[in-house]
Amino acid sequence: MTATTRPTTETASPSPAVAVLPVTFGRVLRAEWIKFRTLRSTVWTVVITAVVMIGFALMMASLMRLAADTPEMAEGMNNDPGFQSLGMSGTTVITLGYSFAQLAVAVLAALIVTNEYSTGMIRSTFAAVPRRLPALWAKLVVIVLTTVVVIALALGVAYLVTLPILDAANLSVDLSDSEQVRALGGCVLYLATVAAFSLAVGALMRHSAGAIFTLVAIFFVLPLIFSIVVAASDAAWTDWVNKLLPSVAGERIISTGPSSDVLLEPWTGYAVLAGYTVVLLVAAAVTLKRRDA
């Protein structure tokens, strides 16, 4: 049957001309954006992410201010090797919240896919976009762009609200320092990549609880365990596993301290995380195309 044999609905139908256009990536992107902004849970998670970033910056700034006023506390900080390795600057203060914000971002990105499977929405999505992959890439664009905008805005707000406090503590965000600029941009880049990574995990696992458990393990529990193991053990493999963990490698891009002999260089570390992400996205695309919805 060809398109020319369209039945006589033009005259009989109550809606003589329903304009239906071909599915394009731009249209799928618009649809995914509508889906994203019409769920309260996603809107709330985005707000929480920004609040966490700004809240931690304020907390840390106040702490530094307190330290500047309290000589004993400043001395304690100066003698703490862990604290020294941070290479404390204004940038360190305003980006500090990323390690908690990443959990919110990871959960949000995974849920964008898994909630469609748990509710059955995925079948409506694939009925409208039966080629499937445009829907996955559109979700990717939505979550990555949203993360970039929200984190950039949160950093901007954090910069403004901590400015007077940091001044008093003799700290500043120095945009002429290339390392600080790299760390600020790196914070946005890292969280956007975590979002892409988590979206892929969500698409591969399809179950909300399983995906969230996996992501919390990868971005929170494993680094915690390995920071203890590395300190306690002399085995070389623990160093290697630790520095290649997605979060440990990726967050090097936000570091401003002196380079470390047990961790990767900033851009190398980020490249490792980006590599994992690409592999997961390809796997997600292949399985999404193949599996029954």
């Binding site: 109550p14 618009r30 649809a31 009925a127």
Partner: protein
């Protein structure tokens, strides 16, 4: 137009759809009838490209569903109530799907009105009843003004008025020259709505015929006989080649001989007749007979003389 060729779907060791071939034509309502678990939904999901066939192929309006540039203008499907995120409103759900095909908001509001959802369109779907969810599913199916409609158990959960509405809608859409493929596990529903019927059981096509032919062909005529000499009469009828079953109340159900022959046989055998009633099997009986061997989940019949 839907054309399935050798369509097969296997889940592990279980063959859900077994080498199914059929054609659904435009301009009429085609019923897809079968017991629960017969493979109706799986077949419909394969038509929509949601499940990948193990073997065989299926096309809609000439191409596999996924290859159409405007899928929603080709096929509108109601595959299950509430393939919807409960946190969105009905209108938001429709708008998101409409956006994929650049369908205007005016059309979204049109299908909302057409399906009687105006009052609840801005309420979140999570609070919808099964019937409202079903209406939203129909609204989604109509959104792209499709040439082909696939409705999986559309009357499930609808009140009598809703059932009538779906029936009229299906016939109206077919009357406009569209292809309407509607599944049900209820013979009576299909008989009221469809012109043609494809019967499926245990993944195989059992019949592909007009509804009228199915009723005529599958219905078997029987004669109910009551006689004080039932035993002798039964023997005489069996010698004549008829099949005789004795009912609990002592009456005989005779098949393979019409009322006249039963009467004649009784006269020859000298049996007194208290009742002689020709009966036609009902729609449901015809359907049960056809699918008797193809029912996956059967309730055990109560055995006679079972302890009470």
């Amino acid at each position: 137009m839907i054309e399935a060729h050798g369509l097969t779907k296997r889940y592990g060791t279980k063959l859900a759809v077994d080498d199914v071939t059929f054609t659904v034509r435009p301009g009429i309502v085609t019923g897809f009838l079968g017991p629960n678990g017969a493979g109706k939904s799986t077949t419909m999901r394969m038509i929509m490209g949601l499940d990948r066939p193990t073997a065989g192929s299926v096309t809609v309006n000439g191409s596999p569903y996924a290859q159409h540039a405007r899928p929603l203008a080709e096929v509108g499907a109601l595959l299950e109530a509430k393939a919807v995120h409960p946190g969105r409103t009905a209108r938001q759900h429709l708008q998101a799907l409409a956006a994929t095909h650049g369908i205007a908001t005016t059309r979204v509001d049109e299908v909302i009105e057409l399906t009687g959802l105006s009052a609840v369109a801005r309420k979140r779907v999570g609070g919808f009843s099964l019937g409202m969810g079903q209406r939203l599913g129909v609204a989604v199916a109509l959104l792209g003004d499709p040439r082909t409609l696939i409705l999986d158990e559309p009357v499930n959960g609808l009140d009598p008025e809703g059932v009538l509405w779906v029936r009229n809608l299906a016939r109206y859409l077919a009357g406009q020259g569209r292809t309407v493929f509607l599944s049900s596990h209820l013979m009576s529903e299909v008989a009221l709505t469809a012109d043609h019927v494809v019967v499926i059981g245990r993944g195989r096509i059992l019949a592909d015929t007009t509804v009228q032919d199915l009723l005529d062909g599958a219905s078997r005529r029987a004669v109910l006989v009551r006689s004080p000499q039932a035993t002798e009469l039964a023997e005489a009828l069996r010698r004549d080649g008829a099949e005789v079953a004795r009912r609990d109340d002592g009456a005989l159900m005779v098949t393979g001989a019409d009322a006249a022959r039963v009467g004649e046989t009784a006269a020859v055998a000298g049996a007194v007749l208290h009742e002689l009633t020709p009966t036609a099997s009902t729609l449901e009986e015809a359907y049960m007979e056809l699918t008797a061997d193809a029912v996956e989940y059967r309730s055990e019949e109560m055995t006679e003389g079972a302890p009470r």
